[in-house]
Amino acid sequence: MDFDTLESQIGQWRGYVEGRRAIANADVDELEDHLRTEIARLATTGLSPDEAFLVAVKRMGNLDDLSREFAREHSDRLWKQLVLSQDTEGEPDKNAFGVMAAFAVAAALVVKAPEALGFDLADNSSFYFRNLGWMVLGVLAAYFAVLRHIRGRGLVLLAAPFVAAAVLINLYPFEPEGSTEILAGLHLAVALWLMVGVAYLGGDWSTGKRMDYVRFTGEWLIYYVLIGFGGGLLIGMLVATFETMGIDAASFVERWLLPCGAAGAVIVASWLVEAKQSVIENMAPVLTKVFTPLFAGLFLASLGALVWTGNGINVDRDVLILFDFLLVVVLGLELYSISARESDSVATVADYLLLVLIVSALILDLVALAAISSRISDFGFTPNRTAGLGLNLVLLANLSRSAWLSIRSVGNRASFAELERWQTSYIPIYLFWASTVVVVLPLAFGFA
């Protein structure tokens, strides 16, 4: 009879522990096994099941301390740590929504601000292209600075790159819609996105923390795309509805809804990542599992096509961007699979698929690199080829070491944590290269 009550007591205890979001289910299993072993041992010393249960639970320690310790260790669950610290600071959660709404409106207004100063979107597309990045990402960085209570010197250091970017990108005498302008605009967004990470992590940009930002980036992207789909549907319905009444809503959509919505969604998606974390935590691993084999297939197929037709690849800007985009997706999938995997499980099919993906991406990168190099040796350097060459070299170095570490992990000679460490310690290289393209490349090519 005592056995049943003991089981229900253990079940209740498990329920309490599972309620702690910082303690993952596998960790609860581990703790439960510990509890059961201790109860069994105490029972042999003559304690009743009830007594044994109480003593064992007491020895396990205070649940608050324990879950704080878990949250501290598993910083990949950073948001849970934030929840914990918010508990202790007694900060009400509903503020977060108000802050988000204010910043989303700010982002929307910032996009329209140049128009008030006489820069119309239609006539000044290159002005917008250069400036949108630092304006919107600046608002995002400010949003996180407020959330993370960044003040004083930290705030100055955080603002500096955004101010510098704004000054530089407008002082450089770019040829309108020339290559260097487009390249600088694209790379500036990448560099500043990484700077937003500093704000996101509350100024702690150590290697261990960076993975949180990588995870944030992936989850943000998922939300942003979802909002984009929804927004697209909304716009379509809106235009169609007003058309039936003989009103043309297209110009409203173009001038207001689209730019303001796209900018505001940057903030809303960031808020969603943190507020609705558990939704994404279930979705992201699934998406990774679905897309890793698909992308591996795509890469193998394109390698096959390259060999089969014997054609090289055309090196114009669009192709290069497509290639680099693909390779970046590979890195994203790699990071996501590593971060989502049960870190202590043995190599699974998914790990082998990941290896296939990395190796085929590496080969494809080499092919692209060869194509760019031959173009450069035949026709000389252009801004696009230089940017392509640099990015491909940066990716090549990353993929080579990733492939090596991945082979070792699958063979159980290295831990997947090493792969993760390699990726996070590589992030500054992206920042360095992106900044180089923004700052040095336009000078080197005379702003062409």
Binding site: E30, D33, H34, M60
Partner: protein, 122 residues
């Protein structure tokens, strides 16, 4: 004699790594071994061992895997890695240095009163 909290925390990593150096083990068995080794003087809050083990895992010092030995419950077993060996050797060196310094300091103080200081304990 209960050991002070700070010392317990500081010694946790080398002790766990040393125990795993004896062979693969799991949480409960590690705690029992700690008790045994310290003659029951070194007391940890049971639950706290697990965040520590997870930290060692993240640092790459231990390898972890779920296993179900015949006739037993499924458990997470931990095994020391080469990186763990390196970290352990480093920590042992530091501990030897600290306790050596402490012993020498005591010996110097007592040198006047006790002509033959006690030989170093193994």
């Amino acid at each position: 004699m209960r050991i002070a909290k700070d010392l317990v925390a500081a010694s946790a990593t080398p002790i766990v790594l040393s125990i795993l150096d004896e062979g693969e083990s799991y949480g409960y068995a590690i705690l029992k071994r700690v008790e045994e080794l310290s003659g029951g003087e070194l007391v940890w809050t049971d639950g706290m061992l697990y965040p520590l083990l997870h930290r060692l895992h993240r640092l790459g010092y231990v390898h972890a895997a779920w296993k179900t030995p015949a006739g037993e419950r499924r458990r997470r077993y931990y095994r020391i890695t080469p990186a763990g060996h390196k970290a352990l050797a480093e920590q042992l060196k530091q501990w030897a240095l600290v306790s050596g310094a402490l012993r020498d300091a005591r010996r110097a103080i007592k040198a006047g009163t006790f002509p033959a200081p006690r030989p170093a304990e193994a």
